[in-house]
Symmetry: C2
Subunit: 307 residues, 2 copies
């Protein structure tokens, strides 16, 4: 593991099972010189989606004898299965976001703006020791909650509105990702039915997860619950995605995806429905694939919270 | 400008002087297909430090007739000179962080932790309409302030300590970057002298900035003030860096750098001294190069604030 003197302390805390070398002049130069010093032909794989053209040009110039093998899958496949030491950190990152959201949901008052609430969530992540949010926090209320990627706005949370809260923390390099949907006021039967349908879809997906099952089968388990209630057309994205050092990594719980789940993979399970005008409902947890099923990493209550 | 339906609204607000095309299937596919549809040989430059090997492989496969020209400077050079519409947004991003820091400094109380204060800063950025911090906020107190890149820790601000606050906001895509150093308590003469030396170095650098001057000459202006006071060995980084869509872009105000400043460039000016045990002092503003000098974009008071 090559890093520079700014990160000596952090590397000591965050790097498992690897020798840390403190370098000068940047990681590309350090890697290139390390390989050149081998003085023989070596074959080195690199992750094409994580290496820029300029970095490859520099590496080829510094270490011209290396045979570089471009690979877009090997490193990501390796990363998709987490080791126990990684799972411990991911559990802590999930606990952090579960606690922040669980604590804040109870304190939400109508009149607070989406931006204020997003700010409080990110403040909670920092306070809990996280290095920051794992993506731009989403707080979307009323009709805006029907946009799957709404950015928080100065809009205030109004009475009788759905609010989607989608957020995650980075802790010691690893990401968590959690969504909860709350209702400001007493939810009408229509909203309650939609909420229960999404929750049932999520439970069906979790029940389908175990080693040997395809990602597509998990997606289908969630989707068929919503199809039965004629809601499938409102479920406009895939059921989930892998999670780790990045907030989106392999595998993807997408329709027809043939990737086979393996023990140690960590994925989000996040079905949702989005009805223009009414709003959106999404419930998302992070789970780890175990020997015979899956276990939740995130723990915030999944009951419909009525403010 | 190619983007997808998640960003329709944001593109309308943030894209100047370009046609926006809402696409499906990702920007690489869209760009590739747009170029393929030209049905003739075209020569297209791309930024090698901003394009991954996987993206280039995909572009070459989709648009095999294009002659791709790798360039690591053209786009960055173009970006280094800001248009008036860009400067207006950068002024707003600078105002946002100036107001957040100016407001918070007055409210700092000993006993608050570095993490809490960093969280408050980032909350202020959100509340002010920023999409987030332009880098991980630095709050470093006591001996930790001597680390140029300290991450905020649970350590509480103690009496008679230096505290370095380094933070920035992203507003409509553009970054600001501001550092202030405060003293918890009444600063002893030693600290006051060091602070004034850094402030004088910063003023000397700003006074040197105008079109036609090299970046190295600006760095030298700051460095020679500190050399005269035998403090140059404690100034361990360069005087500043370009700022825009990214928090570090061209040009770099580094020792001996031959890049010539031009009107419309935006750079940080941030000399500092770091004394092990005692702590660090850094004062940073963002300035725009004008026809005959430079103007500050950031405005928080530069007097030594004693809490």
């Amino acid at each position: 593991m090559f890093t520079d003197s700014r990160y000596t302390f952090q590397a000591r805390e965050e790097v498992f099972d690897a020798r840390v070398e403190i370098i000068k002049g940047g990681p590309i130069r350090a890697v290139g010189e390390y390989l050149r010093a081998k003085r023989r032909k070596v074959r080195v794989g690199y992750s094409a989606p994580h290496t820029t053209v300029a970095q490859m040009e520099a590496l080829r110039a510094i270490a011209p004898d290396v045979r570089w093998v471009s690979d877009k899958d090997a490193i990501e496949d390796l990363r998709s299965i987490k080791e126990p030491s990684e799972l411990a950190v991911m559990q802590a990152a999930a606990d952090l976001i579960s606690n922040v959201v669980g604590g804040l949901i109870k304190a939400i008052k109508p009149g607070i703006s989406e931006l204020e609430l997003a700010g409080k969530i990110e403040y909670g992540i920092k306070l809990g020791g996280g290095s920051g949010p794992s993506f731009d926090t989403i707080v979307a209320s009323g009709p805006r909650s029907a946009w799957a990627h709404a950015q928080p706005s100065p809009k205030k949370l109004g009475k009788n509105e759905l609010v989607v809260l989608d957020q995650g923390a980075i802790l010691r390099g690893y990401c968590s990702d959690l969504t909860r949907t709350v209702f400001v006021g007493k939810a009408p039967k229509r909203v309650r039915d939609l909420y229960n349908a999404v929750l049932e879809a999520q439970q069906a997906a979790k029940a389908a997860i175990r080693p040997g099952v395809t990602c597509g089968a998990v997606d289908s388990a969630a989707r068929s619950v919503l199809t039965k209630r004629s809601l499938a057309r409102y479920f406009t994205h895939s059921t989930g995605h892998g999670l780790g050092l990045e907030v989106h990594e392999k595998p993807r719980l997408g329709r027809g995806d043939k990737t086979v789940l393996q023990e140690g993979m960590v994925v989000t399970v996040e079905p949702g429905v989005y009805l223009e005008g009414l709003g959106g409902i999404r419930i998302e947890d992070d789970v780890v694939v175990t020997g015979n099923g899956c276990t939740d990493l995130t723990s915030t209550s999944r009951e419909l919270f009525e403010l």
